[in-house]
């Protein structure tokens, strides 16, 4: 299990291959890549700057991954979240889950993303033509995380 917060880019092929290349039990890798969009709430976004809470970030991501491991068969997993200033089309976050079968891989990957969005201490500030503004939390993200409380 690899959990990393970093400013540098990452290579998707390298990260995903690290989950399956040495483990022939892996039949499925579900991956999520989150990217900076050039528009939000109707305004142009020139840059997105990510702040985080060092220490708690890694701790909360580890808890989320542990919770996913308790619910689904996970053979390996990588979570990389970037911080600092990013531009549209740049990757922000990678969650990749390796499992024997696809249902576990998909569910665990979606679960980790939903919890990351509501539990991991990252904050986004965007630069728009109107100036800088902090991105507001979305109720739809709370709802997405809440749906895992009653099923797996």
């Amino acid at each position: 299990m690899k959990i990393q917060v970093q400013t540098q880019p990452f290579d998707l092929s390298t990260e995903v291959a690290a989950l399956y290349a040495a483990n022939p039990k892996v039949g499925a890798v579900a991956t999520f890549l989150g990217l900076v969009r050039d528009t939000n709430e109707g305004d142009g976004v020139a840059t997105l700057t990510l702040e985080h809470y060092p220490g708690m970030t890694e701790k909360s991501l580890a808890k989320i991954v542990d919770e996913a491991k308790s619910r689904w068969e996970m053979l390996d997993c990588t979570v990389i979240h970037r911080v600092g200033e990013l531009k549209p089309t740049e990757p922000i976050v990678l969650v990749a889950v390796a499992s024997g079968h696809r249902q576990d891989a998909f569910a665990a990957c979606a679960f980790i993303m939903d919890y990351l969005k509501t539990q991991a201490p990252f904050w986004k500030k965007e630069l728009t033509p109107q100036g800088e503004r902090w991105v507001e939390a979305r109720e739809s993200d709370d709802a997405a995380a809440a749906r895992w409380q009653n099923k797996n």
Partner: protein, 86 residues
């Protein structure tokens, strides 16, 4: 006397004009909720950002926590807006 470290992030860091402080708490501040009330009593942006109905989150020693949590000497307490990563 309890001495704690306070951390502020994102909008709260900007509004409070600082990212961290070390605070010696008066005897009546024993829980996270009492800590928030004590900070709110500073007035200005503190009163405004921590007002009833404003959305903020609290963590003690890097775990999300509730207002009823008891504080102890040496705790690291963080106050921040709802998270927006991912």
């Amino acid at each position: 006397m309890m001495r704690i470290t306070l951390l502020y992030f994102a909008r709260l860091r900007e509004q409070f004009g600082t990212g961290s402080e070390v605070a010696d708490l008066p005897a009546e501040v024993q829980t996270v909720g009492e800590l928030v009330a004590w900070l709110r009593a500073r007035g200005g942006n503190w009163a405004n950002e921590l007002a009833e109905g404003r959305a903020y989150r609290l963590a003690v020693n890097q775990d999300m926590t509730a207002l009823t949590t008891a504080l102890k000497d040496g705790d690291e307490v963080a106050i921040f807006p709802p998270v927006t990563g991912g």
